[in-house]
Symmetry: C2
Subunit: 337 residues, 2 copies
């Protein structure tokens, strides 16, 4: 990207503003957990690539105890990044991404050892960068003793990975897009409501790495899809639907809005050039199966992120029925069992 | 639909205007052929359901000798409709559609025997209603001795089936959407250019009847898809691309525009509610195969209509290579072999 250094300055600017007057001397260690989250109204498209500012607001549900645990300690001079017990090569894409993020906070010459562990099955298709960066920010807050407000943690997490800004909260979370160029009004807020009977079921189609990463897929869609221009209005219609469905605990309303939103997001990608098609033939087969089951009276919907796997939405009462229909279904209770 | 009788009057109005001063006494028989056509820039969405007036213009290529042959004779009093040698039950949907169309032309009390034969493999997934209605109009013209201009035949064919208005010409054909409420400016015009080396290859995924017919799928998309609002601009961008590609005989430009247009059309449907997904898992597998072959250097693209089958676009030089990749590929040379 052009003007990278200029944008990097802006990113540092944000960090400088949030940390003004806070200590930059690390303690012995920081350790924190953050949940993964699944969007019911998707984040798709940035208005600022460097600050991860979104075109639209989005709304997610966090996955309780499933997420990432991060421990950080001063070490060095070079960073060491360990993921699920395995030390990553320093030039691996994840280690480089973590180090680049730590650059925003590190005292001159300081290195860190970051130990990240996902409590969500790896290769299960749940995005772990959201929970990873949210946990990392909380761990940094502890390491340096900043005691930031959650809103500030949300903004810092966003600088690491857009959807990470939602993983600083449990339950239903709305990421307000904001309007400011510096993104100081673009952060997550929690919704008051809970939904103890809500369930998500993961249907794993493939654990393979995607041919087009979600960051690149998003960028290509915004730049080349003629249908993307209609996406912001779709989100603007779906957000109040999902909020109302949560408020009224109207499962069909929730499911319909979430499935329709996910399909519209994938539709914007399908119309990009070259097309961004994350669906595999098996994804389509499961989508059709969900439609059939619904036609037979089962209250089940799906959502899909930038990948081939499906996340089924249903209620506790149908958990057994769905387990029988989808072998190996991994069921998650976002509000606890 | 509400106000059906009122619209029917309008349809009769158009017929009355075009046939003003022409004889309405049938001769012994009329017999005509019309080619099937495949759109490179799709017709998707009506601005008038009764007169089959489109939201946008579209551009197709006719399939030479592959199409429909129709013979019509006075008979009666009841109509008899024969398709590929089989007399259809009078209450079958196709027989009723033909009879309703003949109502627009029949002298009081007159019945007809219509003998239609497709020269295109049935169940091959090529739409036969376009060639069928275009051939029927030409057969009526002969039966009654009207000697209408092709433009008038195009308008009459449109009243039977929208895309039939393109099947009154061979080669590349553009259906100009027009603006008039009565549709008198909505008809097909032929393009001067030919492309002898152009080939289409049909990949049959399924010959089954679709769960959602194309007329219903189109209507649901226009009414419920939030992405449909971006479709007219997509067509407006693709039409000059395809025209230029034909003029310059630039195959990649043609293929890219056609594939991108078809994907965008399907994307508008995927975002409808309930979603209109004509793709089957096998369709998606073939789409990915085409992308792979193209990445390997083979000049092949696809287009898809409202169904699961794919039509590959390529040039004569690659016919052998593609036949080896897709077993049972049915190859069509729109401009003759």
């Amino acid at each position: 990207m052009d003007g990278g250094s200029e944008n990097m300055a802006t990113k540092r600017d944000i960090v400088g503003r949030i940390l003004a007057g806070r200590g930059m001397k690390p303690g012995a260690a920081g350790c924190a957990f953050a949940p993964a989250n699944i969007a019911l109204v998707k984040y798709w498209g940035k208005r600022d690539e460097e600050l991860n500012l979104p075109v639209t607001s989005s709304l997610s549900v966090s996955l309780g105890r499933l997420g990432s645990e991060v421990e950080i300690q001063p070490a060095g001079p070079a960073d060491v990044v360990v993921l699920n017990g395995q030390e990553l090569p320093p030039d691996s894409s994840f280690a480089r991404r973590v180090s680049a993020y730590l650059d925003l906070f590190r005292p001159a010459g300081a290195g860190f050892r970051v130990d990240a562990r996902n409590t969500i099955p790896t290769a299960a298709g749940f995005a772990s960068s959201a929970s990873g960066f949210a946990a990392l920010v909380r761990a940094l807050d502890q390491l340096f003793g900043w005691r930031l407000e959650t809103r500030e943690l949300s903004i810092l997490a966003r600088l690491g990975s857009g959807s990470a800004c939602r993983s600083v909260y449990e339950g239903f979370v709305e990421w307000r897009a904001g309007e400011a160029a510096d993104g100081m009004d673009s952060y997550a807020v929690p919704l008051a409501e809970t939904w103890p009977d809500l369930r998500m079921g993961l249907v794993v189609i493939s654990g393979e790495e995607k041919a087009v990463g979600s960051r690149a897929g998003m960028k290509r869609t915004v730049e080349t899809s003629p249908l993307y221009r209609a996406w912001p209005a779709k989100v603007a219609a779906d957000l109040p639907e999902v909020r109302a469905a949560i408020r009224e605990r109207d499962f069909h309303r929730l499911g319909r809005a979430a499935e329709s939103n996910a399909l519209a997001m994938h539709a914007t990608m399908i119309a990009a050039w070259p097309p961004v098609i994350y669906w595999k033939p098996e994804s389509l087969a499961v989508m059709k199966r969900v439609a059939e089951l619904r036609a037979q009276g089962l209250a089940v919907y799906f959502t899909m992120d930038a990948g081939p796997n499906l996340k089924l939405l249903f209620e506790r009462k149908d958990e057994f029925a769905l387990g029988a229909k989808f072998s190996g279904l991994q069921v998650v209770a976002p509000f606890g069992p």
